[in-house]
């Protein structure tokens, strides 16, 4: 059971901005992170500085929303709805490589824990594995259906490595998860979490939701999947945020956590405390929140209202600071003294 004081965070430093920040990656052991936005920009900021100031990367980068940011030893790698991956020099903020990565809109970018590989996912429903240094395409991973059962385009929203880098999971709009071993990228398990997806066949005849976030537990035994629960009115994000926890090896859904709907909207991102005793979810609808989950009990222990819809965040190594990016704001949450 997590100590209640371990999750008693408060918003400590809020920075307004004129665009939506969708993605971020933090330099370990620092308050410096890089983030991608709706103005097609990539920015560098130190959120621990006395007067944090975002510096824009310069040069030919993206022509659309920047949906994924990943760090390698030398580079910041970003991906956008413009289908491209861009490698940037971390220190100069200049692009060093730009290449088309997907046939449709790119939704996310992740680096392997050793920083040697980059995974990108897009609405062509392919996950692509890239050499982090050379940018060479190593693998193309399919298996996610391109269309929904009602003949509309599906979307491949997210990917994540296990902490030891041995596993890779990808998740799509219909709630399908494919887990692969990274030694050969062959699928080892498929999970279905259809509760994250709502198709309205009668009133509005379109859909909403999808599996938006996933994370392996630190021991690699469980997979946390995030999204939104079944929605009555698919015009809005008016349903409870939804966390579904799997024992992935058994293919067994262990628990759906939504606390009866007190936090509404999408679970956009999931992270674990270093000791694995608790997890934190971030997301929102018109507003935003952080939700803390006791991993042993698999239940919510704390809900914290955020000043904005959170699209991504990062918990630091000491588990006493959370850096969050989202709708028109960047916020640092500090653990109360």
């Amino acid at each position: 059971m997590a100590d209640d004081k371990q999750t008693d965070f408060k918003a400590a430093k809020e920075i307004g901005q004129k665009s939506i920040a969708f993605s971020m990656a933090r330099v370990p052991e620092t308050g410096r992170y890089f983030y991608g936005t709706s103005d097609f920009g990539v920015y560098d900021i130190d959120h621990l500085a006395e007067k944090p100031e975002a510096k824009a990367f310069d040069g030919e980068g993206h022509n659309s929303y920047v949906m994924g940011v990943a760090l390698t030893e030398q580079h910041v790698v970003t991906g956008g709805w413009d289908r491209h991956l861009v490698w940037w020099d971390r220190e100069t903020g200049k692009p060093v490589r730009r290449q088309k990565a997907h046939a449709k809109w790119l939704r996310g970018v992740e680096a392997s824990p050793d920083g040697k590989r980059i995974i990108s996912v897009g609405d062509d429903m392919i996950a692509r594995v890239w050499d982090a240094m050379s940018g060479k395409l190593l693998h193309e991973l399919d298996g996610h259906a391109k269309q929904t059962p009602t003949h509309y385009p599906s979307m491949l929203f997210c990917a994540g490595f296990s902490a030891d880098g041995q596993l890779l999971a990808t998740g799509d709009k219909l709630g399908k998860v494919i887990i692969r071993e990274t030694k050969n990228f062959k699928p080892v398990k498929t999970l279905d979490a259809p509760g994250h997806y709502t198709w309205d066949p009668r009133a509005r005849r379109h859909s909403i939701g999808g599996l938006r976030s996933l994370r392996f537990s630190p021991d690699g035994k469980q997979l946390y999947t995030g999204g939104i629960g079944k929605i009555g009115n698919v015009d809005h994000l008016g349903a409870p945020g939804r966390l579904e926890i799997f024992d992935w090896e058994k293919g067994e859904s262990l628990k759906v956590v939504n606390n009866g709907g007190s936090f509404k909207g999408l679970v956009e991102h999931i992270e674990f405390a270093p000791d694995g005793k608790w997890a934190v979810l971030g997301g929102g609808d018109h507003g935003g929140w952080l939700v803390f989950v006791d991993t042993k009990e698999m239940k919510i222990t704390r809900e914290l209202k955020a000043p904005m819809h959170i699209h991504e965040f990062n918990l630091n190594e000491a588990a006493d600071k959370i850096y969050a990016v989202g709708h028109d704001k960047l916020v640092r949450f500090d653990l109360k003294a």
Binding site: S64, A203, R205, I208, H236, G287
Partner: protein
């Protein structure tokens, strides 16, 4: 019979025909309205603003008309802009579903004591034929959301010009036209022949409008009973179905094409529901490609049948969507600067009328309201928009005084 479309209005003489009107009724002009219920985003369809803070994540693409660019979500229509005209300067001033729908369907707001006929009713009255065996106005609306707020209405024209409304999503057909199982086809035909014989005998020496109308009404009912095949797509070639795609909207648009081919003057196919207050981009990723495919297929289908010069296809809804993107990544209702499109019959392919500013927040050139679009659709369908009806002694123009059609988009 189901709906009261055979009823006549006590307020006006619906059977009165001008010389011009008679001539038009011999033409093959038809209208198919693709009603984008809930309000499609102009930024993700006809008026993209890539790179603007309001532009969203999608880019634009060039079309077969140099200088005209539309959303990348519409690659099929990008090849068919020579058959299309875009209206990018609608300011219709009503951002409510009910009010906006009424405004767009009737071209104006009702008066306290006068309900105006909608587009379908006017086209039905002007282009419909008394001796036609098919309905004059058909309205598909199979989703439930917005069905009541975008109700179609014949207004003061009366029930004779009300649409046959089709709501059942599972099996679409006209209500109450199916022959009773207890009656054999032979009996059914024998009864009709007997009625026809008696009617003709009765008509001899009785050359009045009432008698002709009575006989025409029966012929119409009998004809309607053969309309069921219009809803049965089993005889439609697979390659045609493949063009339109596998969705319900696609099937209904094929039915609409079959109907105009059979002589129905006005068909509205409603595709609900575009009201993307949350997750606008994912919603439009679903719905715009469907619209793109279906609309392109309809244009090709009509062209192949030699009907594209006569059949006007319109896309519009009750309004567009806000340039501002809300925190749920949605766009809200916006009637200030949005778009509609016209294709085929009576329009000037490749024309683009009006312009919005760089963020699509306001119209900067050739602003028009719902009335001008209403008048333009009538003119494209060969109907004189300056015409007047009479309710009692009061003359009622088809559009409000001062409203003119957009000549720049008319052929």
């Amino acid at each position: 019979m189901g709906a009261g479309w055979l009823g006549t209005s006590a307020a006006i003489n619906t059977f009165a025909e001008t010389g011009l009107n008679k001539a038009l009724k011999h033409s093959n002009k038809r209208v198919i309205l693709l009603w984008l219920a809930g309000g499609a985003s102009q930024l993700e369809t006809w008026d993209p603003k890539p790179g603007a803070s309001t532009g969203g994540p999608f880019t634009d693409m060039g079309t077969d008309i140099p200088g005209v660019r539309i959303s990348e979500l519409m690659p099929q229509m990008a090849k068919r802009m020579k058959h299309s005209c875009l209206i990018r300067s609608l300011n219709t001033r009503d951002g409510g579903h009910g009010g906006g729908a009424q405004m767009m369907m009737r071209g104006r707001k009702d008066e306290a004591n006068l309900k105006y006929p909608d587009l379908g009713a006017v086209v039905s009255r002007e282009l419909g034929r008394m001796d036609s065996p098919v309905p004059d106005y058909v309205n598909f609306y199979t989703s439930t959301e917005g069905r009541n707020s975008s109700k179609v209405s014949p207004g003061f024209l009366g029930a004779r010009y009300a649409p046959i409304s089709l709501h059942d999503g599972e099996k679409l057909t006209l209500p109450n036209i199916t022959k009773l199982d207890q009656i054999t086809q032979g009996d059914h035909e024998a009864r009709a022949n007997l009625r026809d014989l008696l009617s003709r005998q009765f008509e001899q020496g009785r050359e009045t409008g009432s008698v002709r109308s009575h006989a025409a009404a029966y012929a119409r009912v009998h004809g309607l009973m053969s309309c069921e095949k219009l809803f049965d797509l089993s005889d439609e070639p697979q390659k045609i179905k493949d063009m339109y795609g596998p969705t319900q909207f696609a099937e209904q648009v094929i039915m609409a094409r079959r109907m105009v081919e059979a002589g129905v003057p006005f068909v509205r196919v409603s595709r609900a529901w575009w009201d993307s207050h949350g997750q606008n981009f994912e919603t439009h990723q679903e719905l715009v490609p469907e619209l793109d495919r279906v609309l392109a297929a309809l244009i090709d289908d009509l062209k192949q049948r030699g009907m594209l010069d006569d059949v006007l296809v319109v896309t519009m809804g009750e309004f567009g969507r806000t340039p501002k993107i809300n925190a749920s990544l949605g766009r809200d209702h916006f009637a200030t600067a949005w778009s509609a499109s016209l294709h085929g019959g009576g329009t000037k392919g490749g024309a683009v009328y009006g312009k919005t500013d760089d963020k699509c927040e306001k119209v900067v050139e050739n602003e028009i309201g719902a009335g001008e679009l209403f008048a333009t659709i009538l003119e494209a369908a060969g109907i004189d928009s300056s015409k007047e009806y009479h309710v009692g002694a009061r003359p009622i123009p088809l559009v409000n005084p001062g409203i003119k059609p957009i000549r720049e988009v008319l052929a």
